[in-house]
Amino acid sequence: MDNPVETIGIASARIARLAAIRAVLCAVAPALTAIALGVLLEPIGKVTWTRLGYRLAPERAGVLSLVLIGAGIVVLAAGLIMAFRAYRRANDFVAAAAELDDRLECHQEIVTFATLANPSAPESIRARRTPLFPILWRRAIALFGGLDVRREFRLEVGEPLKRSSIFAGVVALAMVLATLGLVRAPTPENTEAAKLRAIAEEIARTSASSDDSALADKIRQAADALENSKLPPEEKKARIEEAMRQADKAAQKRNNSQSGKNQAAGKANAQNGNGNGKSQGNSTGAGNGEGKSESGAGQKLGVESSGSGKGNTGKSSGKNQGGKGSAKNDKNDQNKADQSSLELHDELAKAEAQVETANAKNPSPDKQPGADKNQGGGSQPDPNRPGNIPKPGANGDRNIPAAGGNPKNNKDMGSNLGDTHLGEMPTSTNAQRFLKPGEKGAALDIKDARYVMFRLPGAPTSGNGGKTVLDTDRPTATTGYVNAPLAPTSDDAPPDERQLVPPRYRDMIH
């Protein structure tokens, strides 16, 4: 190229482009990493923390995913801005000349030439050219003689990608740290909800009827409700009960249809006659009410073959075996359906129990004793404090089965009815822990008994040559012992042993 100014211009543009590409490359990896992590957060969670038994709340996962995607977009935008700035900065005539100077080892001749020949330089700079400038021009031409700008300034992606990968690693590390901070060990509700969802998935996958789909939806709703901490327990229970009802309905329908099929199968068997006892037996086996509709064809085929195959035992037997196998499959499927139905019931019942337990542990704020207007003590751990005395009809009553049956009939049900026991004291329903005298067996006079003494068995005999030692120092009872039979305890009905104090006296007791 004869014009060194053009050469420097081309080099300048090339350097600027490369600078821009390098800047973009620096930002691409972290940006793509962040976006990919944001998009694939759920699958990543399935193979990592979910598999390890931890749980990332959906709302938190959503926020994290959005943050990652947003960060990726921001980094990408920043990379583009940096690329633009790098292009602007690197697109410098004299800087490109300096770069060429370094590469060609020209002792700043090209820089000097570029300074004085810069097309965008003011006239005052050009005026500094001396009579020796033509020598510089020729020197520049000679130096650029074998120069290939593209070959001299190659796109080296290694270094920017290396730097970029470091940033990407930082992004990934930040994501890992954020996830570590956000994941939690699943609560029993979460576990139960996950199981319910799995069952719902299974039902939705295996069944094609609309009832099963509806059941799967109900189960999912129940699972969602179970996890939703904002929903009141009553609502949760209602959803679960709804799912249970739906499950019952689906099971009933299935049973009905199955009994219809069994009847049909029985009719078909009756038409076969008594020609083949073996076949009859097989058909009977299939007619246990467990076969399914699709196995009806096989049964029928087996029966027909056996009917026409008199004297050909082997053939008829083989075909009958086919019918038998089909019946077996029906039975298996039926068993599976029953099992899954039972499992579903079991899980729903557990979920309901879970709701109740959670409700008992964390009563809602409006039902907390400390929140009551009549209870000035707040939520103190001391059970003798007035504030901790459960009000009749509140928590305590809900867990105690009503003597008359339906707890809804209790007048004190619900705490919004006020201090009703001022006029009518509530009846304690589970105050008696021991059996009444004479209730079971002979009456034991344990009135005013303060201790119940048990006689411990004698010292055990040691085996293998050991010596038997009697514990003579052991204290023995001087009076006859009684063994008062305790009433069977019930987990869900704790004894109501605390005495209720009228509100007007509560402040006097400390």
Binding site: A95, V111, T112, L116, P131, F133
Partner: protein, 339 residues
């Protein structure tokens, strides 16, 4: 060889400069053994239009070197031995009463300063008054006697020497006067081989004869043309910034001053230091066959141009820190600007 042709091309002028410089070095080397760097700096100072301060013990051939250079270039040469009782008029010249045709009049009798090359031997032995007389001539290239100004013919170069020993009864040059020398070069003792060669040359019967490069009548003009060529050498803006950063880096409290500068220096170089750097770098570039200055040209000029412009403080004197070592540190730590 005569002077450069009138309409010589730039290439020819550059080539001629290199040839003259090279031949001058060779001619001086006929009589001076070794000290090539000192000779080069002396010729560089001549073509830069500056003056040079040579520091060295007596007997190293300083006078002979300057005399040989003047003979080579065809320039006039005078030597002044500075002593404490030397008066300015002894150097500059004075008005003497002359009688001609029955008339008596004062006539100016020029002193030894009126020559193209002036060697001021042991300049630090003269009183400041005498020193200042020489320094005015150095800077202004003119002298004033009784109100009359006499211009010194170009080219004009003063080569002052200082004896680093026997400093008793001397008057060290003030910083302002030191600043007027473009270079300060230190003339060391000859190496054994060089000393043997000196002995061979000076104690035998053979005498080296110097071949002048110019005729004495044309020499001043030829030298001036070469000096003009030096100033035509181009300097890129980044290199100018580099020179400025060097000056700033050597100035205590200046931009980019390194800690050593602030610790050991009282004052840094003046703008004259930057001028000296550029001119010296330009000569270096021409000698390298280039018409533009490079970073290497500047780096080569830094120590001789700036070493006498740094004013060391007491701590530096106490710790024997030299200005050369500080300059080397500055050059090491400075980053050369790309654009």
């Amino acid at each position: 060889m005569g002077a450069a042709p009138q309409q010589a091309s730039p290439d020819q002028r550059v080539a001629e400069f290199r040839e003259i410089f090279s031949r001058a070095e060779s001619e001086v080397a006929r009589v001076i053994v070794g000290h090539r760097e000192v000779v080069r700096k002396m010729l560089t100072a001549l073509f830069c239009g500056g003056h040079i301060l040579i520091e060295g013990v007596p007997g190293l051939g300083k006078t002979l070197m300057v005399k040989a250079a003047s003979e080579t270039l065809g320039l006039s040469f005078k030597r002044i031995q500075f002593t404490p009782d030397l008066m300015p008029s002894d150097i500059i010249g004075t008005q003497v009463l002359t009688e001609a045709d029955g008339h008596r009049e004062f006539q100016f009798k020029p002193g030894p300063i009126f020559a193209h090359m002036v060697l001021g031997d042991e300049i630090n032995r003269a009183t400041p008054k005498t020193q200042s007389a020489v320094l005015e001539a150095m800077e202004e290239h003119q002298v004033t006697v009784f109100g009359t100004t006499y211009v010194l013919d170009p080219p004009y170069i003063v080569l002052a020497t200082e004896n680093p020993i026997e400093l008793e009864g001397t008057y060290p040059l003030p910083e302002a006067q030191m600043d007027r020398f473009i270079f300060k070069v230190v003339m060391g003792s000859p190496k054994p081989d060089e000393l043997r060669e000196i002995l061979n040359r000076t104690t035998g019967t053979a005498h080296a004869k110097i071949q002048p490069l110019f005729e004495p009548s044309r020499a001043p003009r030829a030298i001036e043309e070469l000096k003009a060529l030096v100033r035509e050498v181009m300097v890129a803006e980044p290199l100018e910034r580099y020179i400025i950063s060097v000056i700033g880096g050597c100035t205590p409290g200046g931009p980019g001053a390194i800690p050593e500068v602030s610790q050991y220096l009282r004052f840094g170089p003046s703008p004259r230091g930057a001028q000296a750097l550029i001119l010296c770098a330009k000569v270096n570039a021409l000698l390298a066959g280039r018409v533009s200055v490079s970073y290497d040209d500047i780096d080569d000029a830094i120590v001789p141009c700036l070493r006498h412009r740094l004013l060391l403080n007491f701590q530096a004197e106490a710790e024997s820190v030299s200005s050369e070592s500080i300059l080397e540190q500055v050059v090491k730590r400075l980053r050369k600007p790309r654009t």
